[in-house]
């Protein structure tokens, strides 16, 4: 088994923590792994993407069109933007939060409506949830990344213990309880 996972969102949403948790989980499972991130100017509120690839041996650190098994998105429009990167039969896990990009704010473009339905109409597996509310329920909006990892846990197919251990490795002790709660609520959300 090996998988290509993309974590996409808007710069500043915390995708680096999500990729760190996944990277650690994959390492615990004993795979070769590469994680590719974006830093610098594109981080400032722009569209950002992180690639997590694992398997027996990983060469290229990037994921290209039609190669992702899972796309985990922090924001709805970003899920639609990166859809071409999804493999046939792949799964999109997306937060339903909408953040307007500048062309929408200035009125040069409109935020497309019904994106989840439109993706499903194309035959795409979409798990959509309000991860922000899940995180809020767990105690803080900041836990949105771990809530999304919870939502992804079934598609990922890892041992639950592995994911829990990876979260413990990746978040500061004082936020562990909050993040574990967000993970469990996310997990429950994806099972529904």
């Amino acid at each position: 088994m090996g998988k290509n996972i993309m974590i996409v969102g808007v710069g500043g949403q915390g995708s680096l923590l999500a990729s760190r948790i996944l990277g650690n989980a994959v390492m615990l499972e004993g795979y070769d792994v590469k994680v590719s991130e974006v830093h610098g100017m594109s981080q400032r509120g722009g569209s950002v993407v992180t690639y997590v690839k694992f398997g027996e041996s990983v060469a290229s650190p990037v994921i290209c069109k039609g190669e992702a098994d899972i796309i985990m998105s922090f924001e709805l429009l970003e899920a639609a933007r990166w859809l071409p990167y999804l493999k046939k039969d792949g799964t999109i896990i997306t937060n339903t939060q909408q953040i307007n990009p500048m062309p929408v704010i200035t009125g040069a473009a409109e935020y497309p409506a019904d994106l989840v339905e439109k993706m499903r109409a194309k035959g795409v597996n979409v798990i959509a949830a309000d991860a922000l509310s899940i995180a809020r329920e767990a105690g803080s909006e900041k836990a949105v990344n771990v809530a999304l990892i919870g939502l992804m846990s079934h598609a990922l197919g890892f041992d639950r213990d592995t994911l829990v251990k990876a979260i413990k490795m990746s978040v500061p002790e004082k936020f562990l309880e909050l993040n574990m709660k967000a993970f469990e609520l996310g997990e429950a959300g994806s099972a529904q």
């Binding site: 590469k34 974006v38 290229s60 639609a80 953040i99 307007n100 990009p101 500048m102 439109k118």
Partner: protein, 577 residues
């Protein structure tokens, strides 16, 4: 022990394990984390220098002094450091020295695409290029060993995909290196003509030795799969090629890219019916292969521009295109924007309102060029805002309607010499320093103005107003304003534009992302008062949108900076939730 590490962190680990004593760098994406990670090792003295030229000179001084040293920068930083770079080949080192430079094909966070390998050939220095984090660590350590053996600095060429990808690395202990004895040698270290003539002979002889070494060195690797197709490649391109061709091609992977391993290349080419050179940016290896008389392909098939990927290589070399699903409608682009609460936002609104010519610079505030602020005429290179404005005004005489805008870190990097040029040469330009008390764009690095070193030690921060004064700007024309007070900013700006004398306006407010900056509660629109005029949207804040004809503020993003209420003609935006 195996650890998942960024390429940049793995370089830093290599510095640690190689016994490096000193690191001096200037931040620049994608190179920054090498130095940040190195600073976390107690055994390494690490600092941010004000610019790359200073950093490289510090590292050279340390190497001459007998300690292993490193300096790191992005590709354009090497342009700034080019003067000492060329001299290092002549002086050689004593303790080993490595110059880390990170290129940015695809320009994720840069003003140009530039191939640093040309510098190796021009300066006659060896350059090594790793493909992943494991090689980052391994090549860094080896580079120190051979730097001392051949008495030359090595250039370590990184790349966005190598610097910012994590992969597994094997860690070892640090091998402590004693500081080597210093022996005075005027002929080796004092580069005046008589001595330099002698040293040039050494440089050329050394290159020949390195060229022979390249054919049998631990950096280069041949993977022979007994195929008709041979691929010559280096860096991240090797990983893309491997993913596309696997065992169906053989590979000559050049880790030591320059000087070229001529015999190795000729031998590899002779064994294969078809040879393709896969390299990002310029045909550096390809042209050399052709100069050797070899029949190779490369840029006739692959682009000169941008990043490569397995998709691109499969498309260009195998005519295979990806299969994928897409929605039928266009997805609006999401370009980077100034953050909510960014202290740079207001000044750009005023620039636009006054219709000024804006000579811009490199930093987060370059985003002031984007709509709806759209208030920038030029962005050239670090520090050029001030010097280029002086030239513009000498030609056009528009001092009353033009301004330079530059950040605190960029001003310290190379802006202040431009200011000295204005006062010295009777210029009357107005310089706005947007002082957010940090190096923002690269992710919050300290600089000489912030009051802290890279290691977090408190120091006496340099005051920008003192530099302006020392540069010859009159006290009454050095103004300090709160950039979120739009009325004051506009008033001061108008006064200084019309003053007929050099002036410096310091917009001082810390970056809204700094941990110590307290955020106010999100602002809220009173929908009864809001008339939907969209005046608040002129500042380009990502928190504000119009819903059902009324302004709406996203409470999850807003940090209550107080700028938008100043835009509202109906007093409809209020603080507190």
């Amino acid at each position: 022990m195996k650890k998942l590490m960024l390429g940049n962190e793995a370089v830093a680990r290599g510095l640690y394990e190689a016994g490096v004593k000193l690191v001096s760098s200037y931040p620049g994406t994608p190179s920054t984390e090498v130095t940040e990670a190195a600073a976390k090792y107690e055994e390494i003295y690490a600092e941010w220098a004000p610019n790359e030229k200073v950093a490289l000179e510090v590292a050279l001084g340390a190497a001459i002094g007998g300690g292993r040293s490193f300096c790191g920068m992005k590709h354009v930083g090497l342009n700034v450091a080019a003067d000492p770079l060329f001299i290092t080949a002549y002086t050689g080192v004593n303790g080993g020295m490595v110059i880390g430079v990170a290129d940015d094909p695809g320009m994720h966070s840069s003003q140009n695409e530039q191939d640093s390998r040309h510098y190796a050939r021009a300066a006659k220095l060896p350059i090594v290029e790793p493909s992943d984090s494991g090689e980052c660590l391994e090549f860094t350590k080896l580079a120190y060993e051979y730097s001392e053996k051949f008495d030359t600095p090595f250039i370590l060429r990184l790349n966005t995909r190598v610097s910012h990808s994590q992969s597994l690395v094997e860690l070892s202990e640090r091998a402590e290196k004693d500081v080597k004895p210093y022996e005075k040698s005027v002929a080796k270290h004092v580069m005046m003509p008589a001595n330099a003539r002698g040293r040039h002979v050494v440089v050329e002889d050394r290159l020949k030795e390195l060229s022979a070494f390249a054919c049998d060195c631990p950096f280069n690797k041949v993977v022979d799969n007994n195929t008709k197709l041979g691929i010559i490649t280096s860096g991240p391109s090797y990983t893309y090629a491997l993913e596309v061709f696997g065992d169906s091609a053989s590979y000559l992977k050049l880790g030591l890219v320059y000087p070229f391993a001529d015999e190795l290349i000729k031998d590899f080419a002779a064994k294969h019916e078809r040879v393709i050179v896969i390299e990002e940016l310029d045909p550096f290896i390809e042209e050399h292969c052709k100069a050797l008389g070899l029949n190779v392909e490369g840029k006739n098939l692959l682009p000169l521009l941008g990043e490569f990927s397995q998709e691109l290589i499969a498309e260009k070399l195998l005519d295979k295109s990806a299969e994928f699903t897409a929605l039928d409608e266009a997805i609006p682009v999401r370009p980077p924007v100034l953050c909510p609460g960014c202290p740079h936002r207001g000044i750009f609104y005023i620039f636009k309102k006054l219709g000024l010519y804006v000579s811009g610079d490199i930093g987060c505030y370059t985003l002031g060029a984007a709509a709806p602020l759209s208030a920038m005429d030029t962005t050239l290179c670090m520090g050029a805002s001030i010097s280029a404005l002086h030239g513009y005004n000498k030609i056009r005489g528009e001092e009353n309607k033009s301004v330079a805008v530059i950040g605190d870190s960029t001003f310290m990097h190379s802006g202040m010499t431009g200011l000295v040029n204005i006062t010295y040469n009777k210029g009357n330009s107005t310089v706005v320093i947007v002082d957010n008390s940090i190096t923002g764009m690269t992710g919050h690095q300290q600089n000489p103005c912030t009051g802290f070193t890279l290691k977090g030690e408190p120091v006496h921060g340099i005051m920008l107003e003192n530099i302006a004064r020392a540069a010859g700007v009159a006290d009454e024309h050095i103004r300090i304003v709160d950039p979120n007070n739009l009325k004051e900013v506009e008033k001061v700006l108008k006064e200084e534009l019309n003053s007929g004398t050099p002036s410096v306006i310091i917009c001082r407010k810390p970056c809204a992302l700094l941990k110590y900056v307290k955020h106010e509660p999100a602002l809220k629109v009173d929908t009864d008062k809001c008339i939907g005029c969209k005046a608040c949207m002129k500042i380009g804040c990502p928190c504000i949108s119009v819903v059902n004809g009324k302004a709406k503020i996203d409470a999850t993003l807003c940090v209550g900076c107080g700028l938008c209420p100043q835009m509202c003609p109906k007093d409809a935006i209020k603080g507190g939730m």
